[in-house]
């Protein structure tokens, strides 16, 4: 069989510019390139969008959002958090007022029940899964909820293989069973939550037998999960993109949070909610305010006191309304209300759902500057390309992990050629636009952030070093907070208990891209163990496990279509078509296919996916497209 190695990208070593999009790039001095950027941004001051980088440091994200808000006067700043866990942040903050996972990795080793919902952590978060395995070896029972029987599910007590996009019916049926079995935690519900009566009515129709019909999961498996979760002294509910990458991702997250409120499985050691984040600093990017609705420290833009604090610190006026998120910025490109974009370390030309549309929209921009370590497909669309450093190995700073742990990133190698640090580049552009920022080093940026974000105030670089990272919140330079959030919900004194957590009243809404006679197969997407996102990074090393992109089909479907492993087929959706070889995967059920976005230069999976967005968080429904498989005519098989 032909073994495909993905395209290998080499580092950018000097700035590249061009006068029009039709001509090739030419090498330019930093001086010229930065002048061009300043002019391009200046003439589009009222129509600007910043794509910050969930792969870069907190310090870089802090400066990037400050650049958008102070230099360009807009809250239009966002990052690829929008394509993955924005619904988790939106759902958690709606329930608890804070967008972080509530537990820590170590706690999962000491819990009784672990639910992995829409998460193949064994592949996507292998070292987190080692903590899960410790938990299992300590006696915890793990339940895997996933349309695919993944390698995570291999470790489960029970695998609940639900139909794609039926997470809410399943969660509601679990809730109804808990309520009817008398296992709801009444004391916690009364003290710490609101909206229970309405929630009870909402889930009432979701009997086990109805849920079995809709989700495809046997009633007794649903019942077993409900009883295990509710009876456990401590239970952890973990999820990944199987929950969030839907057109109603935030609703999905709320449906899961509801289960923790119903049973009191939150706010205690070992009992909590853990969204597993997919990029090294996607948690930190949001924490640093590189999102359109929050200032650094996850502080709400709509709060006048918060704005005042930042306005006096930055000597500026902050727009008193939310900016556009990544998805909305792409729509605004179409309308012409975003005409200039500063894209740092992101590759939306390949990572957005319906990638053809994303490319077309970026082509309409008046000015696009891309700052990256590689000449990505997005950079190929730019007017100016600025060579940057690789945050994790070539700069100093911090990143924030899935368990809210802020950890030190340290410079280990010297960047190639004329590549420069993101923060220095942004400061040089800011200076050209009339803002003279001076940061001696990353620590100076961090200390400015600490002075503005109470949750980070206690984290000096020295302390981060001493403790091997510190989890937020950390308001004191003397003490450390517990490893879990929201213990306040268990306080007897209502004053100390604070805002109760509302149940989310969310209804089932099936995937937008319906399967029918013409597109009978449900395509879902995900990650493989040795590859990552659009493959720009992971394509750089020779993995013995890598076999390139395949469309994975169930054995039943492969037989039905008369296709064999390695045979190339045409895969079509209502938006596009690709040619990909077949892989037969027994972990898939009939009617379900699986692909990744790791090899977009060979098979552009995102030309198939649908840009049906969550109205709250803006995340697209990468997990559910309808496709058709066609055998190729014999003549074209020979390539």
């Amino acid at each position: 069989m032909k073994k495909r190695q993905p395209k290998t990208y080499t580092r950018l070593t000097h700035p590249l510019v061009r006068d029009t999009r039709d001509e090739p790039f030419r090498r330019a001095s930093w001086e010229e390139a930065l002048d061009r950027v300043a002019r391009g941004l200046q003439r589009n001051r009222d129509a600007f969008g910043m794509f910050a980088c969930a792969r870069a440091t907190n310090e870089m994200n802090y400066v990037a959002q400050k650049f958008a808000r102070v230099v360009m006067g807009t809250n239009n700043v966002d990052s690829c958090n929008r394509t993955c866990h924005a619904p988790s942040v939106a759902g958690l903050s709606a329930a608890f007022g804070s967008g972080g996972g509530t537990s820590s990795y170590e706690e999962i080793e000491h819990t009784d029940v672990i639910v992995m919902w829409g998460s193949n952590a064994r592949f996507a978060h292998p070292i987190f899964f080692q903590h899960v395995l410790k938990g299992i070896r300590n006696g915890a029972r793990m339940y895997a909820v996933d349309p695919r029987r993944t390698s995570t599910a291999e470790w489960a007590e029970s695998w609940l293989g639900l139909n794609v996009g039926t997470d809410i019916p399943l969660a509601h049926a679990v809730a109804r069973e808990i309520i009817h079995a008398g296992l709801a935690n009444q004391a916690f519900i009364e003290r710490a939550t609101t909206g229970y009566e309405e929630y009870k009515k909402l889930v009432e129709p979701w009997t086990l037998s109805l849920a079995e019909k809709v989700t495809g999961v046997p009633a007794r498996a649903i019942k077993e999960l409900a009883h295990a979760y509710a009876r456990a002294e401590r239970a952890q509910l973990c999820w990944t993109l199987g929950i969030t990458e839907h057109h109603n991702g935030t609703d999905n997250v709320r449906a899961l949070i509801n289960l923790s409120l119903l049973t009191g499985q939150v706010g205690r050691y070992g009992a909590g909610l853990q969204p597993l984040r997919g990029q090294n600093n996607v948690q930190g990017g949001g924490d640093m305010g590189a999102i359109p609705n929050r200032l650094p420290g996850f502080q709400d833009i709509l709060d006048p006191d918060t704005r005042l604090k930042f306005e006096s610190a930055w000597d500026t006026v902050i727009q008193p309304h939310y900016g556009l998120n990544l998805t909305e910025m792409f729509e605004a490109m179409e309308e012409g209300s975003v005409r200039a974009v500063y894209c740092i370390g992101e590759n939306p030309a390949q990572s957005e759902a319906d990638s053809d549309q994303a490319v077309r929209r970026m082509r309409q921009l008046d000015f696009l500057v891309v700052q990256d370590i590689f000449l990505t497909k997005t950079a190929e669309l730019a007017d100016v390309i600025l060579p940057a450093t690789a945050g994790w190995a070539e700069t100093d700073g911090t990143t924030t992990s899935s368990e809210r742990r802020v950890q030190r990133v340290r410079k280990a190698v010297t960047p190639p050629g004329e590549a420069r640090e993101d923060i220095d580049i942004m400061c040089d552009i800011a200076a050209r636009l009339g803002h003279d920022w001076k940061y001696a080093d990353a620590e100076a940026v961090w200390n400015e952030l600490r002075s503005l974000s109470p949750d980070h105030y206690g984290m000096t670089y020295d302390r981060l070093e001493e403790h091997q990272g510190i989890q937020w919140p950390c308001p004191s330079t003397e003490e450390l907070e517990p490893t879990y959030l929201h213990s306040r919900l268990w306080e007897k004194d209502p004053q100390r208990r604070g805002m109760p957590a509302p149940f989310g009243i969310v209804r089932h809404d099936p995937p937008v891209d319906l399967t029918d006679e013409e597109y009978p197969i449900r395509l879902t997407t995900g990650r493989r163990l040795d590859s990552y996102n659009t493959g720009v990074q992971s394509g750089g090393f020779a993995s013995p496990l890598r076999r390139g992109e395949y469309v994975e089909l169930s054995p039943e479907d492969a037989e039905r279509y008369g296709v064999v492993v390695g045979e190339e087929v045409q895969v079509s959706s209502r938006r596009g078509a690709v040619v990909a070889p077949v892989w037969v995967e027994p972990a898939l059920r009939p009617g379900l296919a699986f692909m990744t976005m790791h090899f977009p230069d060979e098979v552009d999976t995102n030309s198939l996916t649908i840009e049906a967005n969550c109205p709250i968080a803006g995340t697209a429904e990468f997990k559910a497209s309808a496709i058709r498989i066609e055998k190729l005519p014999v003549a074209t098989i020979v390539r």
Binding site: R234, Q279, S401, A412
Partner: protein
């Protein structure tokens, strides 16, 4: 509300170490106590992230009242115990262990072993050249790992790291018995036909370099591996959001090896294939 189990407070136990009264927390091993009081005991099969295996017997010490020598790496401290680390009998035993291992296995890339051989006046050559067990070519069947069986002392640390103690992949195990025992994947196949997921957690714990990264192996073969010239910088992995700590070993501005601190609360020294090997993109410089 659940009360967090704190366990019984750990008592300090008093005992005698080489004639001096010392105290160690309950549950500590003799080796822990020795290290705490600055005594250097040689170890090979002991792993700070693994349960003691008692395979190599190079750390043996004398305990009053014990008929045999005891391995310091696994024997827990007891109150009133009298431990002597540097007696004639324990030194002799260590010497023999070092002679047997160094004569049958290639210990050229085992850290510190040359010092111990000198200190214990071990003479591995006295068994003659035929003592070498294997004389096999290193196995290079993939782009990431090399397995050099001539350097394997059968300490089983790699098996434990791959198995139920950390990785739970179970790609490798002990095959054969007695003199034929060796670490192998099923059917002794190439690694590429095995269950291996290339996390490198076996290499992380290998004490002798029998398992090594291909980057290191190639540089050693070319004579360019220069450990004193390398810097070690701990940073955070650039892939998923778990936040694994990576220690980058850099020589001439090239990342040549990636490890993880064994005392780190996120990784405990373990990584996945992306964290361990996914650095090359940074240095694809032309």
């Amino acid at each position: 509300m659940t009360v967090t189990e704190l366990g019984i407070p750990r008592r300090l136990l008093e005992f005698t170490l080489d004639g001096e009264a010392v105290r160690a927390p309950e549950g500590a091993t003799i080796l822990d106590a020795c290290r705490a009081s600055g005594k250097d005991i040689p170890t090979l099969c002991e792993g700070d992230t693994l349960r003691p295996k008692n395979a190599c017997r190079v750390c043996v010490v004398e305990v009053e009242g014990s008929r045999t020598l005891v391995p310091a790496c696994s024997r827990k401290v007891e109150p009133g115990m009298e431990v002597r680390t540097d007696t004639e009998r324990s030194r002799h035993s260590r010497k023999i262990v070092l002679e047997l291992l160094a004569s049958s296995v290639d210990l050229s890339t085992t850290p510190q072993v040359a010092e111990w051989i000198k200190e214990y006046e071990a003479k591995p050559d006295r068994f003659g050249p035929d003592a070498a067990r294997l004389n096999e070519e290193p196995r290079v069947d993939n782009d990431l790992y090399v397995r050099d069986y001539d350097k394997c002392i059968l300490c089983y640390k790699c098996v434990d790291a791959c198995g139920d103690q950390w990785q739970n992949t179970f790609a490798i195990s002990v095959a054969g018995r007695g003199f034929d025992a060796r670490i192998a994947v099923e059917q002794d196949a190439p690694l590429t036909d095995s269950a291996c997921v290339y996390c490198g957690n076996c290499i992380e714990v290998c004490p002798t370099g029998a398992l090594s990264f291909k980057s290191e192996f190639d540089m050693r073969a070319a004579g360019t591996w220069d450990e004193p010239a390398q810097t070690e910088t701990t940073t955070i992995c650039a892939y998923c959001g778990v936040g694994c700590n990576l220690t980058l070993h850099v020589q001439d501005n090239e990342i040549v090896k990636v490890t993880s601190p064994h005392d780190n609360p996120v990784t405990h020294g373990n990584l996945c294939i992306k964290g361990r090997f996914g650095y090359q993109h940074v240095q694809n410089r032309d």
